[in-house]
Symmetry: C2
Subunit: 452 residues, 2 copies
Amino acid sequence: MLKDDLLKFIPDHSRVTENETVRLNHSKGITYHAPVLPDIVVFPKTEEEVQKVVQYAIDKQIPIVPFGAGSSLEGHIIPLKGGITMDFTLMNKIIEVRPEDFLVKVQPGVTRTQLNLALKKHGMFFPIDPGADATIGGMAATNASGTNAVYYGTMKHNILGLRSVMANGAVISTGSETVKTSTGYNLTELLVGSEGTLGVFTEITLKVYGIPEHIVAAKAVFENVEQAGAAAALVLQAGINIGRIELVDGKTIEAVNDHVGTDFKVKPTLFLEFHGSRAAAEDDYTVTKELMEDSGALSFKAEADSLKRAQLWDARHQAASAIVSREPGKLLVVTDVCVPISKLAECIGKTRELAEEHNIDAAILGHVGDGNFHAAFCVDSNDESEMANFKDLNTKIVDLAFKFGGTCSGEHGIGMGKKEFLKEQYKEALPFMKIIKESFDPNNLFNPGKIF
Amino acid sequence: MLKDDLLKFIPDHSRVTENETVRLNHSKGITYHAPVLPDIVVFPKTEEEVQKVVQYAIDKQIPIVPFGAGSSLEGHIIPLKGGITMDFTLMNKIIEVRPEDFLVKVQPGVTRTQLNLALKKHGMFFPIDPGADATIGGMAATNASGTNAVYYGTMKHNILGLRSVMANGAVISTGSETVKTSTGYNLTELLVGSEGTLGVFTEITLKVYGIPEHIVAAKAVFENVEQAGAAAALVLQAGINIGRIELVDGKTIEAVNDHVGTDFKVKPTLFLEFHGSRAAAEDDYTVTKELMEDSGALSFKAEADSLKRAQLWDARHQAASAIVSREPGKLLVVTDVCVPISKLAECIGKTRELAEEHNIDAAILGHVGDGNFHAAFCVDSNDESEMANFKDLNTKIVDLAFKFGGTCSGEHGIGMGKKEFLKEQYKEALPFMKIIKESFDPNNLFNPGKIF
């Protein structure tokens, strides 16, 4: 019945399916969260199809869960109350590229790499890089970020406007094609990061950038994490246009060596990138080299050639897979908190101690420019004591972040796993978030069980 | 009675007043909008005082209008339904300066120049410069912007968190001390730009920046506005770190010459600033000089010395006062729309034609890097036909912006004057803004009559 009804709106059996394998593939992401099957999966291609399905779902009181690449790390796409999973993989047109206005309009199923391939010929790129080849819709829904947020910001800084189907069935446009607007309430940034609970996006207008003329990558090794953190802070304070700045701790480098057979120095390492004109990037690198050496760097190396840059950053790129490969069959967990920049080095040190206390072998990585850091490790989701141990470590990391004036989620979002932490972080403000949810979606049909 | 009641919360006769002169000073801003007196003006100093007054107002159903420096340009601070005007001038402490975390916490009455004076010794500054010496609270409420938004963004990009008294009397904290957070709904950016209609701010956490090591200012003169606009677009596309880029049209330069006695070339002129390390700023200037000359610049001049930079930008700085001085006794009007960047030059040209059709002698200025432009001129608010003529020109400028895919307000906000335009721009989205207003402030006590 459900299927027959939905076929009226999406008249294509390959795009409306109750097939169990397909439903299973939409019951979980890449993480440890327990799977739940949707009742049906649909693959819309147009805004009209999305709107009709949503209107039907409202009429019949059926939950809706939007699904992009399924790469979210907090269980966002798990349909806790079943219902209709709306997979946007086929809604992946790049609608308009306007380099002269530094913007593109895309459907939500467009992936990050697809977009950047299309932009390359215009000499432009979209910089937000969360690691996974996520969809733009999913990245918007979680306010995704990544290694170059220090320079380019996060999704919320780079979305000029949206079209969204709301929980009353209406389609609205928010924002504009301009880089600035002061026009009433900022609905764009209310929807960005709303994790599918306020609207289903059908079109996203993104800000894009010229590909930097020149990129210099660098690597600096330090005796300890505190020194590395202090050196990074100097770089930021010097106003250097740092494109990326990442900190990887010694034990993580050791894991990479074991995994890949390299012999990188087993010590805290900063990975940096300078973006800009040739003269500016070279100048920034020169100033940074001096700062690093004054800060006690044991070594400092830089490369401009793109292949050599990749090699220089190898330990950073291999960090998560080095940990995963140690324990095949287990699932990946990535913690995510953010603290004020000056506290990052200390937090990374304390997180390593906590991981050791919990006998957890984790990769610890920090986006130094933002104060955001992760511990990545594996868990056997069927082993209760392992799960309890991981949850205890996660809670202690969030408590650490709170103690240092930080936030319980830097970029991965709340999803299912961090609802309790959100309550703790925003005791007084949470009721206002709930008021918005209840006003926009009184029947709680849009991605129920997430955030609250 | 009202006064006696409020004295219980702010026990200081100098800070709770029904004096007519004080009320008159809070009945209007610097613009043409018709004044309306509040019933009483209070000057709180602490969050506790603000909260108590708000709770009282909720209890007695009295409107509340927050007031900063009174420099808003769309009548935001006019208490259309009387009530209590809350003047934040005395609530002006800089609570905490944390250069190591690139943040400051301020009370809402702190002004922009007060803040920058305090930050200077730390080698830091807060870049948002709307022209007026506005308060941070007012700037947050209107999502203020200014000449350097092209590089630093607007208020919404630079507020990490807020404390706000809400229309149910609760005080909430939004955002965090970190530069990134993905934690539920973005209440910070809902409140920023809400123009006093959703919350009364008591504390604002701002992102601050290192003062650029080196600034180079430049000026390029062109034969016509289209050439100037095209040249500016090339600079943006080249990925040059442009700190400011402003376009002033020929007639405006002519008005400045008349006003100040200078003999600047009466032609469209670009004013630019490059910020960065010495090498980067010099390199950017060199590349730009080449681009300007290839684009047909009649002349190109640059200065690094701070006094000479100010002299180079003189025509830009004098533009608005050149117009105002022509017609003493009249009030200033400044239109404000924003269009996609590539459309700016054409819009400036068309705006000049519209101004001439309306026999209005205006200064026309564009923040080229954002597509945001203004026409500034004087009106006699008592002359009905002059007011009708101005309103017609304003409407035509907004229509022009809409025609080019733009927005009816780039930075000044909606206030009273642009409510009809907001309805037109966001036909489907406006009901969702109203839902938020009605849920947060069901009795419409917070700055009634603004935005909607």
